[in-house]
Structure formats: C-alpha cells, structure tokens
Symmetry: D2
Subunit: 332 residues, 4 copies
C-alpha cells in the first residue's frame, strides 16, 4: 500500500502516522521527494482501512498495490474455481443454467416447471420460497412450505436446487438446499455473510443494487474468510438513471471479474431487465461475454404469476433460448 502525503506536512504528523503504521505490524518504506513524501507499506495491509487513512488531512491519496481481498483474488489462486452444486459443476468451463419460477406457488406449479426446465436443458432448479419484497403488503413467498415443495421437485426431477435465504436463523431449513442464494439487498448484510461462512454450502452471492466490483468481492471475502470458499457470483443489474429496464445489466462486470477473481460468475437477465422479451438477447450476450452460467425465470403461466410474471419465459421460449446459448458456447 502506498500513502502519498500532501506537500509540506509537518514532520511530527508524518512521524505519528508512521508510528501508527508500524504499530499495525507493517514495515514502512519512506521516500521523501522534492515535492512530496510517499510512505510505502510492506506486509499484510489488508487489515488497514484505506478510507480512514485517505481522509487524514496530511494525506493526499492512498493506493493499494495489493487488493484487500485475498481469498477471492485470482492473483493468489490463478486457476478457476469449480463449485460443486449437488453434483453439477459450476465454473472452470462448466456452464450452468439455473431456471425456474420467481416464486413457488403450489406443488403442481413447481413440479410442472421443474420438469419443463429439465427437459429444456436446465441443470439447476431455482424457485423462491422466502421473497424479499419492497412492500410489507406484497406477497412474501410461501416460506417454509415453499421450501418443502422445492425439495419435492428436487426429489422428483433429480435437479439440484437454488433458493434465497433472508435470515441466518432459517439455515436449518436449508440443509438439503444445494446452493443458497444471498439476494442483492443482503449483499452487505455482513452478519448473514459471516454465518454462511461457517457452513460448507455453496453460496450464490448476487451483486448489490449499487455496489462496486470491489465491494462485491469483499462480501465474497466475508464468506470465504469464514472458511467457506464455495462462492458463485451473480450479476443481476445495477441501479442507474435509466428507467426503461428495471436495472442496467453490467456485462462488463463479468469480463472484469474474470481478471480479478477465480470465482465463477453467472448472469441473471430476468431480474436485470424485468422484461421477458429482453431475456433472450441479454442471455446470449452474457454467454458471449464469458459468463459461467445463467439464471433465468421460467413460469408455466407467465401472465398469472404472483410475482414478476411478465419477466418470466414460458418453457417453450426458454428451450429456444437454451438452444441458442449452446450454439454460442460452441463458438467460444
């Protein structure tokens, strides 16, 4: 880490800062130039809070040479991580298609959709039991009962399942869930991330509504620092000024994460756009940019869905999308 001091700062202040750094167990390399002094820090600077240093009045800027994330960092783990989700490999060249309804509504519905997406080529079943809703008056999901139905669909189809957790206290209910999703709104729910770090469950960490790539990787680091390195990242659109689509799908994030981390990155075009007819083009683009998989909403009767209906595809349309995605995969 390099700390560039402002020109003409008092000797005392420099000394007190250097002391502070050394007290943190770091080796300090001071280079006093004609115009400014630069403090180079050698050692494990990941414990140093760069923001805190940067706002000191004697400091011009702070630059980390090594990113604060270690376990998620490709530098220290060059080869792709491959996460085993109930027997299905994700990452390292293994492309995964997670599909299913936004919300589980009934046994008939989830079984029907599960079979349909399996036939269409999905290898992981998704379905929401605990639903984060902006309004306390909106449908909150079938919760425990929904999980029970999802597990039944797993049993019937043999597909591993992914579903969202909103509360660490619910963990016991997730014993047979193959991939636990952390939603965008909980990306920085650090207490939840710490609890998930204590499990050995694969975690699907969605990007927060307005979080940077670095913040996202730091949240993955929370889980990994706890001992659970089975993390899959999911880009689902960020909040911008543009309102035509629900969010703005940031596909450059996929290309960037390829360099920054060894963790698999999948893309959710359904939630990102909120518009069913935009799912296909965005799914193809996500595949072409190099994503490790897709998460797509499929519903047996979109127009009757209790939630996000019209961003869902019918099984037939989904099957067509999968076929095109596979063609693009062949080209790459």
């Amino acid at each position: 880490m390099i700390t560039v001091l402002r020109p003409g700062v008092s000797k005392e202040k420099v000394v007190s800062l250097v002391d502070w750094f050394e007290n943190q167990g770091l080796k300090v390399h001071l280079s006093e130039g004609e115009y400014q002094t630069i403090i180079g820090l050698i050692g494990d600077t990941s414990k140093i809070d760069a923001d805190m240093i940067e706002v000191l009045d004697i400091v011009e800027c702070v630059k980390r040479i090594s990113e604060p994330y270690k376990k998620a960092n490709r530098k220290f783990h060059p080869e792709d991580s491959i996460i085993d989700v109930g027997g299905v490999k994700v990452g390292g060249g293994n492309f995964s298609i997670m599909a299913g309804p936004c919300s589980i509504e009934s046994e008939e519905q989830i079984l029907e959709v599960a079979k349909a997406v399996k036939d269409a080529g999905a290898n992981i079943l998704r379905g929401g039991a605990f639903k984060p809703r902006t309004s306390p008056y909106d449908f909150q999901g079938m919760r425990d009962e929904g999980l029970r139905l999802l597990l039944k669909a797993k049993e019937v189809t043999g597909l591993p399942i992914v579903t969202e957790i909103m509360n660490a206290e619910h963990l016991p209910l997730f014993d047979d869930v193959d991939l636990i999703q952390v939603g965008a709104r909980n990306m920085q729910n650090f207490e939840l991330l710490k609890e998930l770090g204590k499990t050995n469950k694969p975690i699907l960490l969605k990007r927060g509504l307005a979080n940077t790539l670095k913040e996202w990787l730091m949240s993955a680091e929370y889980i990994m620092a706890g001992g659970n390195e089975n993390v899959i990242l999911c880009e689902r659109g960020i909040r911008t000024y543009e309102t035509y689509t629900r969010n703005t799908l940031d596909l450059s994030a996929v290309a960037a994460l390829r360099e920054l981390t060894h963790l698999p990155v999948i893309v959710d075009p359904s939630h990102a756009t909120g518009i069913a007819r935009m799912v296909e083009p965005m799914a193809l683009a996500a595949t072409a940019v190099g994503a490790d998989g897709l998460m797509i909403e499929v519903h047996n009767n979109p127009e009757k869905a209790l939630c996000d209906g019209a961003q869902s595809l019918t099984p037939d349309v989904f099957a067509k999308v999968v076929a095109k995605v596979e063609k693009i995969r062949d080209v790459l």
Copy 2:
C-alpha cells in the same frame, strides 16, 4: 390504482386481468376509450404489486393514486409525529442533535466525548459498537463490550443513546438503548425490520445507499406495519457518479419527505461527505432545509480514530457548529 392498457389488446386478456383484480378483492371500474382502455381499481390496492402488473404485455402503464405506504403517509396522519427518545422529543418542531464517535474505542474515550458533546449542546449520544465494514479484515467494533461502555456513558451523562444493530439476535443487548439505528446497508434487510416492528423501541432508519424515497418509506412501513410506529428517518447521502465526497447528500429528500410523511427526518453530514471540514456547511444547510435534527461525528482525537477519523469534528469545532445551527433555527 389506474392501469392503462395498450391499444388494441384482446378482449380475453382484458377479461382475465379484470378477473384477477376482482379475485384480489378489488372493485374494478373499466373505462374503454377510443384509443385505449383504462382499468380503475377501487379498494385497498396496497397489496397489489404494481411492478408485476406493469410488465404484463397488455399493460401500458400503472399509476397508483394512493401510495402503497399507509402508516408512514402524511395523508392519513397530517400532524408531525413526535418520537420520544429516552425523554428527548424528536420531530414536530423539536430539533435534536445526536453526536459522538463513529466507534467506541475505550471507556475513557466514550466518557470524554460524551461529556464534551453534552457540554456543546448535543441531546443524544451516538457511538458505534457493532460496525458494518466493507472488509472482513477491518475493525468490526467492540460489539457487546462497546455497548456496555456506551451504557456507562449514558449513566454518567444522562444522555439518551443511539447505536446500530446489525442482527436481530442481538436485540436483548439493546434493552437499555434509547434509539436503535438501522444502517444504510440494512435498510432493506426486511427480516431485521420485521423484528424491530415487534418492539416498541424508537428506530433510526438510515436511507440505503441507492434507495428511492418510496423504497425508504416502504422500509419504514415494514417497521410500522409490525406495530412499532416510533420511526425516525436519517438522510446520510446517496451513491452517485461523483467521487469528491464519499456520498452525495440529498437535502431535497428532506423537503420531499416533509410532504410525504409525518415521520421526523434528520441528516448525517459526517458520513455523507466523509470530510470533517464539510460537516459545518452541510449541517447548516440541513438545518435551513428543515431537518428535525442532525447526527454528527465528534471525536476527542480525530487523527488517531480507528475509524472514519478525519470525518470527525473535535469537540470545540462541534460546539461552534451547534451555535451556528441554533442561530439558523432561530431564523426559521
């Protein structure tokens, strides 16, 4: 709620949507114009998920005439709410100044700062025990021990205290806390909000990093719908493309919330800007725009602070800010 349909939609689809609305217990008022059909909904539409309707392919747009938040809505509660925080009234003309360190570091530190801010005119003491940090390697706060020290400072100074909760499981530790803060990152941690709704504790709900006023009020509604109407809103800056300040303090939100809700709104210029020398001007502006209070970071030794040091004021500077704030209050 009004649903405007696209021109030339099929009769069947209109009927099936109308049926669906009626099944939700709503009275439907259909007005078929030359160019488009409009469905007016009468009854409690707060349970209807407008997003879900808007994305249906037959729908042009959906407009709520009544906002989905009821309890937080000034329309149904015209007079200002006044929240009692350990004997200190907030809102309805009562201006409150919450001050203290970002993090509690030691008994000596918190006691010294507590006395200093009380002398300078603060009427509520703030201090962080559980700290949400972007990095798992950054200082996470003194946690339980920090709370113990904060309660001691309360005892010594008689000031009510406000501190952040990150996990509903910690609630028992907050029995003697006068105002429980929900941080920006947890503004949409709905499970936490529901638990706080079951208490009768005053809650300080900070605005999320990139949340709209409506989403913020819906989060307040989560707490209020649970039975706890003691909610204070805190504007702390939103994320924009501008990087000069840590966040962009949105003071127009204060003026807007004045119309939309009866809940008190305070402003935190310290976290919003992240720069100590910008706290005074932003505090004065927040007062002039009509905020019900301020939350300001004060530290006995800013440059040695373990966290957010340089965004803290010294007690002397803080005292000067309070004096100017009071002058502006007199003018209004």
Copy 3:
C-alpha cells in the same frame, strides 16, 4: 396522451386545463371517475410538453400512449432502416465494423492503420481529427490537417470514413466524409443537430454520458425532423457509480432500441471500457445482443498513442476479434 388529475381538484382548474389543451388543437376526452378525473388527448400530442403538464399542481401524472418521437419510431416505420455509408450498408442485417485510431497523428500512422484494419476485415475507417478533450491543455487533435490525412487514407484504401464534428461551422470540411460522428458530449447540442438535419450526410449519433434512451431518440429526431433520416445510433457506455471501467456499457439499450426504433445501432466497446483487454469480450457480447456493428479503436503502436492508447488494440488482436465476431454472427 393521458393526464390523470389529483383527487378533488377544483372544477375551474380542470376547465382551464381542458381549454388550454383544446387551444393546442387537441380533442379532449374527459372521464370523471369516482376517485379521480382522467383527461385523454386525441390528436398530435407530440407538441405537448409532458413535463410541463406533469408539474401542474392539479395533475397526478401524465402518460404518453404515443412516444414523442415520430420519425425514429419503429411503430410508424416497422422495417429496419439501412443507411448507406459510402457504399457500405449499415443496418437491416448488414453488420459493419468501423475501426481505426482514436486520433490521427501522422500520414504514416493513419495509412498504416487503415491498411491493417482493412486487411483484418473492417469495412469503415475511423479516425479522430477534432478531439473533444476534458482539458483545454490536452491534445485537441490535428483538426483540418487530420481530416486531410484521413481523406488520403480513404483514397488509398477505398474505405469509407467516419470522424467527429464538434462545430457546425466545420461542415464544409466534411464534404467528403462518409459518416459524420456526433460525440457523447454533443448529443444534446441541439443547434448542431439542427444543422446536421439540413444535410443529407449519414450521422453517427453517440449516446450522451447520462442520457436516457428516450432523450437519445429525441436527439435523433432533431436530425430527422430537419429532413436527414440517415442516422445511426452508437452505444458507448453510460456514467454510473462504478469506476472500474471508464463507463458502463449498456447492452440492454441495444435490445431495447431494437423495439423502439428502426435505426441501426452499433456499439463502441473501446471507449466504453477504456481497457484494451476488455474490448474482445464486450465486442462479442455486443454482437450476440444483436448490434448492427462495432466501432473499435486500433492503433499500430498502442503504448505510444497520444490519446486513449491502452484502450486500442493492435491490428493482430483486432483481426482475431473480428474472426470471433464473425463466428457469432454465423450462429445468430
């Protein structure tokens, strides 16, 4: 256009608004519901300023049923427009690859790059003569002389050329330019757009830094309303809070514009990301999402470039990208 009035507005105000609408030559269809009154407008509402109506205190919301852009609107022009750029067709299934240096630096440089990109498969040559720079002290381009060299490269290679205009007074210099580029910073330079609307030159209209799809189409409408319908849109990334890439490439815009307009849409992954190694994945994604072409920076010696050097590809890398792009085109 539909105007929904607030509940309980005075009869007089409604009448005065209705009068005003009728004075604009519109037929008014008033529907007074139990809860609110809705004014439907029939006729050419494109001249009505919805913003102005929406902020009236008696108005709840305004919704256009017909978009304010007519000539750019696919509704009134279902088939794709095909723009002829010096003999090269763009749009309607014709994929175009525009490549060349960010800035023209010398005759040797532009000729060398022009030949290289032609050999690699580009069908239009790009090169900057007039450069918009944030700083008055940065290199402003070779201007007139640069244009002369670009025209020479056109002559030598036979490739049509595209280059940016910053001032309508320079139009005479652009007589032999095949495609005139309007940069992001001038997307709402309406005086310039009006002048370009008087020409019959193909115009490449880049999206503004923070402009919506609707604003972008309205800017295209400025050119088309003047009589020049030869407009090509270019997505080049929008400004968001994320700083890892220079801008955030919004590929969902391409999918959305496909529905909204008949104009061709191309993508510039070089400026969007500002990072050479991200150009390939974003170019492949842009192709997969259905763009009508790409604009890519190629430089014979990236590390010595006077401008945006490291976002440029070498001719060899560019050739490889083109080959992969063509494979994806074959799949679609």
Copy 4:
C-alpha cells in the same frame, strides 16, 4: 504528478515511458522501491493526459498532486473572484439573486415579471430566449425576438440580464447581455467554450447533468484559458437514480468548490427540483451552505406558463423567499 508502476514491469517499458515523459518537457524523479517503482514528474504536468497514462499496462495508478486546472484553482488565486455583472458584483461576499421567467413569452409578460422581481429584491433579471428542449417539437423559445424583449426589460427596470446562448454564431446578438449563460447540456461543448473565452463577457457556466466537479472546473478553465476569467458557476442538480425531483441538487458541491476554486458559485433550485413548493427550502439550504447567489424562476402566471410552469414561483411567494434568504444571510 506521480505514476505508480505495477510490480515487476520490464526495464525497457519503464525506460520508454520515462523517455516519453521527458519528451513532454518534464523532469522525471524515479524512485525504485522493493515492491514497485514510482515515477514523480516535476514541471507543468497539466498537459499530460492522466487517463492515457493510467491505462498503460505497466501503470498501477496515476495521481496528480497539482490539479489540471490552473486559472480556476484557488491554490494559485487564494482570494475570491468578484465578477461584475452590469454593475452588480457577484462573489466575494456579494450575494446575487437572479430571477425571472423560464421563457420570455411576450413584452407584457417579461416587463411585468421584471418589475415584480426587482421590487421583490432580485438584482439580476433572467429570461430564456433560446431554449434547449429535449424534443424538436417543443417550444424553442422566442429566440432573437425574445432577446429584444429582454433588453427592453433591462432598459425599463435597470436590471442587468442573464440569458442562455446555444450557438457561438449568435454572439453578436448578446452584445448588451450582461451575463451569458451556458446551459448544462453545453457544459462540455468545448467549441462554444473556446469562443466565449475570446470575449470579455461574464459567463454563467451551469454544471452538466452528470459531470464531476473536476470536469466542471476544466470547462471553466476552457473559458479562462482563452483569456476570459469572468466565470460564475451554477449548480443546478445532477442526474441520479432518484426520480421524485427532476434532478438531485448537490449542495455539497458548493462547499467543495469553495475550497477548490475562487470563482463564485450560485445555485438554481428551480430547475434542480422542478417543483415550485420545493424552491423555498432548497433556496434557504443553498444560502446556508454558502452559495454566492441564487437563480430562481418567477412567473406572473405559473399555471399558464409555456415551459416549466409549475416550477415557477409567483412574485409574492418569491418575495417571501427573498426575505427569508436575507435573514439567513444575516446569521452567517
């Protein structure tokens, strides 16, 4: 300027970069640390394009110690600049209130409003003749004729006038205009800025929709570098994800600019919010934060205004706002 190189870069690449810097006439100070090499540049680095250097693959980061703006920089011009606008001083403690209609509609209207705002305490008259409109079909202003009417109002009331220019070719028409406004959409219309730099007219430079403080100051620098140092900055709200107000007024920008530049900074609460009833609170906040003046829309008949009607105040309301603003000024 400091350039930090990536660890382990090849000697040759470092040498070629150092050569390049020296060819730019800079003195290079190389400090090779154990972990990385840092290049310090001494001399006028304002001509160096930091972006270009930062993207080079051997470069970790670039940090300017001296900002690229010189003439606008408070460092080199500590005392506030005071701009003389037709005899009215702006800046350096002189508070200016610019008021008038968004658009000039008729002689009667502009004269009536001009007298009203003068009586209410405005010291500069504003009125739009050339109007930048998103739609080519919206009212574009009375243009030349509007200017003529505005000059008549100046003659009658003796108030200096401010109005927007959209095209450098119109400059001759602005001979008797006291303050020439550059609108948000033209903030980076560099060709226009250069032309204004050749005049000696006071320029009111509005902040672009999504421009940083640095970009804004660089645009001021364009005008000043041309020899015209009479620049006044105007904050008018930035584009964010929040749609409740038209834009988000960034008052922290005023506090920040106070440190960064000696130029006066005024605030336009009318365009920022787009809502008349929010003008007063935001005007008071802008005054409290230390703005050098306000620009407020006043209309004799808001609900009939052709443009931005409901964001205008009536003369009476405006008079009340001015009175409160003056009370706050007294306190500061």
